[in-house]
Symmetry: C2
Subunit: 270 residues, 2 copies
């Protein structure tokens, strides 16, 4: 999917909400545990209940890998379900991969070809030749970690290299890489103050923004400096939506939370 198509989806749905499918068997309603694939059943219900309210889904691969082969199967079934029944959706594999060139090519193959995601999150620590193999795929996006939503972001990302913080260096440097038009960036909602600075460096890029809700970030704060003429934001919410209830009404309650966020976004977009 191109960013233009993503923008069209956003304007049609009046939503730039991304729902994180971080499914933990200890947190999903217990009645689902009798199914052969509880994770997929959970995801299917969440997707069916929220698809008109959001534009993207983002499974975090850790939550699937933790269950081994069975987890990987749940991930595959989830993305296949999305690609079959909701092909207009933008899909993000939140995998935070990155390795030397030929190895990154294998990861790109895994997420773009084998699983069929539109995008994948990638860590920048290993530099250019660890990211460019992802960027080589046309109409696929590489979402580079810039400034993450966690406390540990202050360990290295905000440390100054010469006069520029590391995350700014990552933004600047990545713009010089081949096919950099296929880049998006992760910027945490918990660091809303930074969006003004970030938009000076990447005014036109889409930013994937985790950390709204459970982690404390505020939607309005992010939008104030994060929005651009193409919208340019995908706001992710995971736990707040998918775990809104641990009862049989989990999908209904997830929908309510998604409506709340969609309405807030509609207000901002108008």
């Amino acid at each position: 999917m191109t960013t233009k198509e993503l923008e069209i989806q956003i304007r049609q749905k009046k939503s730039f909400l991304c729902i994180g499918l971080d499914v933990d068997l200890h947190k999903i309603p217990s009645h689902l545990l009798t199914f052969d694939d509880p994770i997929f059943e959970f995801n299917k219900s969440i997707i069916d209940a929220t698809h008109h309210l959001c534009v993207a889904y983002k499974p975090n691969t850790a939550f699937y890998e933790a269950y081994g082969i069975k987890g990987w199967q749940s991930l595959k079934k989830t993305i296949d379900y999305l690609n079959e029944f909701y092909p207009e959706f933008y899909t993000i594999a939140d995998a935070k991969r990155g390795d030397i060139g030929n190895t990154s090519s294998m990861y790109a193959k895994a997420f773009f070809e084998d699983l069929g995601f539109d995008s994948v999150t990638v860590a920048p620590y290993m530099g250019k030749d660890s990211v460019e193999p992802f960027l080589a795929f046309p109409d696929k996006h590489t979402i580079l970690l810039a400034l993450t939503s966690n406390e540990g972001a202050f360990d290295f990302q905000t440390k100054k290299i010469d006069k520029n913080e590391l995350y700014k260096q990552v933004l600047e440097t990545s713009k010089t890489w081949k096919n950099s038009e296929n880049l998006m960036y992760v910027v945490g909602a918990t660091k809303a103050d930074y969006f003004k600075e970030i938009r000076k460096i990447v005014p036109n890029s889409f930013l994937l923004v985790p950390g709204v809700g459970a982690q404390g970030g505020k939607l309005e704060d992010v939008c104030e400096f994060g929005l651009n003429s193409q919208i340019g934001l995908l706001i992710n919410s995971s736990r707040e939506i998918i775990y809104a209830s641990s009862g049989k009404d989990f999908a209904e309650k997830a929908q309510e939370q998604a409506i709340r966020l969609q309405l807030a976004m509609e207000k901002i977009l108008s």
Copy 2:
């Protein structure tokens, strides 16, 4: 496995060789492609032919994920085979993971519990709370990327924060994290000049060293400053060993390459 047990293995085998199981279906002997699981068959043959010459095996997860569920099954079969028939081996999941706290816990569960690896490689970009969940597992090691073997290492890792390069900052800072005694570090053999500096910061840690052979790093150069009283090095070789031949003699040729490296290590150790 503890580092003391690893050291004992090294002294017994007179080898600190780690073999990287980065299996690409396009590169393995074609006669294996008729097997139900060619990747596992390949690994099994390599392991059986080289187990007396090395102390560790390191599958890079990208090469398995690229083949989807089937690939993940090959990875599981490989680690199960090692844990069943060669339980004395040190196993490394070269996965380069790292995410916010609760997510890193899921990755740790995936590699330490579900798959049963002794260690996993982790990227430091997201800082303390992305690494400590891995460190919480007793007798398991977290191998943090410090200075990698690729060209892109110069993009950020060697850039100076105040007066210290980023990779040094990573080494220094990581020593303050909880359970830091469970840390090892990735340092590329292609950057042998840096080992002297690195050993000043982490004199006692084990270093996993990729990049010998195909990538151009020299064993002797690395050992000059890398070795410590506990040996403290695991030298990885992947392509040079496992793809020594693409014919039916692939395991025999892999053994020859492994012998060559083991003998060089024996000489250095004496």
